[in-house]
């Protein structure tokens, strides 16, 4: 519990610092000026999403191999958090694009890939909603999750080969890329802040799922005991006979 509170305070401080840095410490960008500062939250939300989805992939494989419910919990929590980060990215992106490019959206490589990704993982959640048996739900959504994760690089590659308008990678791309050092530090701070928030929310959602599983087990236990009691009462004579 204490560790949790400590972590929460650190995260709150990080958020505050990151926000301050993004708005006031980071230098103004040449062409886009203030609006470019959305970048300090746009990129970190993608990093957070990608991290969450990697954990989901691990959880999906682990569940199939071990059949332990905690991995299923880890999976669904991660997908919800991942979809949330994706939504944030899909909203902040157009908010940045509109003043800078003049358009809210375009069907270039990255945007299309991301949109598909968003739909894929929402489908994961939909699939879970439509499956009733808990074991089937866990197994089949794990299988779908693995397929979805394998698909992501393929979607990205196909879209990249196909079209591109999104700015070429700024940090690790080809010529002309590279970030101002102060911008780089602010970015790092913002990545840390958003990442930590994501982890916090992920842990909570994971705990919620584990608690729900516990609740279901208790309900099952109560039900089976009452069924047993009913049987005992009704078949007492038969039991004596055999």
């Amino acid at each position: 519990m204490k560790a949790r509170w400590f972590f929460t305070i650190i995260v709150a401080a990080l958020i505050f610092l990151a926000g301050y840095a993004a708005l006031f410490v980071a230098p103004d960008e040449k062409t886009m000026h203030a609006v470019q500062r959305i970048f300090y939250f746009h990129l970190p939300s993608w990093i957070a999403m990608f991290s969450a989805l990697c954990v989901v992939f691990y959880a999906n494989v682990a569940y199939l191999v071990t059949k332990k419910r905690k991995f299923d919990a880890l999976g669904v929590a991660g997908v919800e958090v991942g979809v949330m980060c994706c939504t944030i990215g899909l909203i902040t992106g157009p908010l940045w694009a509109r003043p800078v490019w003049g358009i809210w959206w375009t069907w270039d490589a990255r945007l299309t890939t991301t949109f598909i990704l968003w739909i894929l993982y929402i489908s994961y959640l939909l699939l879970r909603g439509l499956l009733e048996d808990p074991e089937k739900k866990a197994t089949l959504s794990a299988i779908f999750g693995i397929f979805a994760f394998l698909d992501v690089p393929l979607v990205y590659l196909s879209n990249r080969l196909w079209r591109t308008q999104h700015p070429q990678p700024v940090i690790a791309g080809g010529n002309g890329s590279g970030l101002d050092p102060v911008m780089g530090e602010v970015l790092l701070l913002c990545v840390a802040a958003v990442f930590c928030v994501m982890v916090l929310v992920y842990i909570d959602r994971y705990r919620l799922e584990l608690l729900r599983n516990e609740c279901d087990e208790l309900k099952f236990e109560i039900e089976s005991r009452s069924v047993q009691a009913a049987n005992l009462g009704g078949s007492a004579t038969r039991r004596v006979g055999s």
């Binding site: 199939l64 299309t112 598909i116 739909i119 894929l120 489908s123 939909l126 699939l127 439509l130 499956l131 009733e132 048996d133 089937k136 197994t139 089949l140 794990a142 299988i143 779908f144 693995i146 397929f147 979805a148 394998l150 698909d151 393929l154 979607v155 590659l157 196909s158 879209n159 080969l161 196909w162």
Partner: protein, 224 residues
């Protein structure tokens, strides 16, 4: 019994089942035709537009029709719980899945065999000189569609609203396949047709990745 032999026997069963009534095949073909015709109403394409948008239309028709056709693959087995019987047979789970994949591939290919010439006629696209290359592209695309579709048919068979769920799960996963197939087909429909090696390699890669994933996951797919 070896996997391949078992798959072959199951394939025979699926084919016999379908050719008794042929209802799935005819429904698939008619549906794809409807999509193709609707497109002409919605867009009224000129000759050059047909060549530009034709490949996209063709593959969307195949994907939609395929999504509908793949549904009964596993949901059919639930009516008399025949899947349990299959599971108890001394064959590997992959044999069951492979048998169904092969059957679906054959059905889809038959549908395409009829649809592509009809499409070429309706939109005045000449197939002269590109037939075999087109067959290659169609085959690679159809493999990806049926491999992934069969697996997802098994996944969605247990869920409610499976007719809606299968396309919902399948179509986003198949977007790379769609792009690659459309680009490959488009390069063949050009004035100077040429087989785009990059995209064809991509298609082959897609097929391999998903076939391998299906093979690795089929035990879990079919378990009780």
């Amino acid at each position: 019994m070896s996997t391949v032999r078992a798959a072959g026997i199951l394939l025979g069963k699926e084919l016999r089942l379908e050719f008794r009534s042929r209802e799935l095949l005819s429904a698939t073909i008619i549906f794809a035709l409807v999509v193709v015709v609707l497109f002409s109403f919605a867009f009224d394409p000129t000759a050059s537009e047909s060549r530009r948008y034709g490949p996209g239309l063709l593959w969307i028709a195949f994907l939609f029709a395929g999504s509908l056709m793949l549904n009964p693959s596993f949901s059919r087995e639930q009516i008399n719980e025949t899947l349990d019987a299959l599971r108890m047979a001394p064959i590997s789970p992959f044999a069951i899945v492979l048998g169904k994949m092969l059957a679906n591939f054959i059905f889809m290919s038959l549908a395409e065999l009829i649809l592509v010439p009809v499409f070429a006629v309706l939109y005045n696209i000449s197939l002269a000189g590109i037939v075999w290359r087109l067959v290659l592209v169609l085959m690679l695309g159809t493999i990806g569609l049926t491999v992934t579709g069969t697996v997802f048919s098994a996944v969605s068979a247990h869920a409610r609203m499976r007719e809606l769920l299968l396309p919902l799960l399948l179509l986003p996963i198949l977007t790379p396949l769609l792009i690659a197939s459309v680009e490959s087909t488009a390069s063949l429909f050009q004035e100077l047709p040429a087989l785009d090696r990059t995209w064809v390699a991509f298609l082959a890669g897609f097929d391999i990745v998903f076939l391998t994933a299906s093979w690795l996951l089929c035990d879990y797919l079919l378990e009780e």
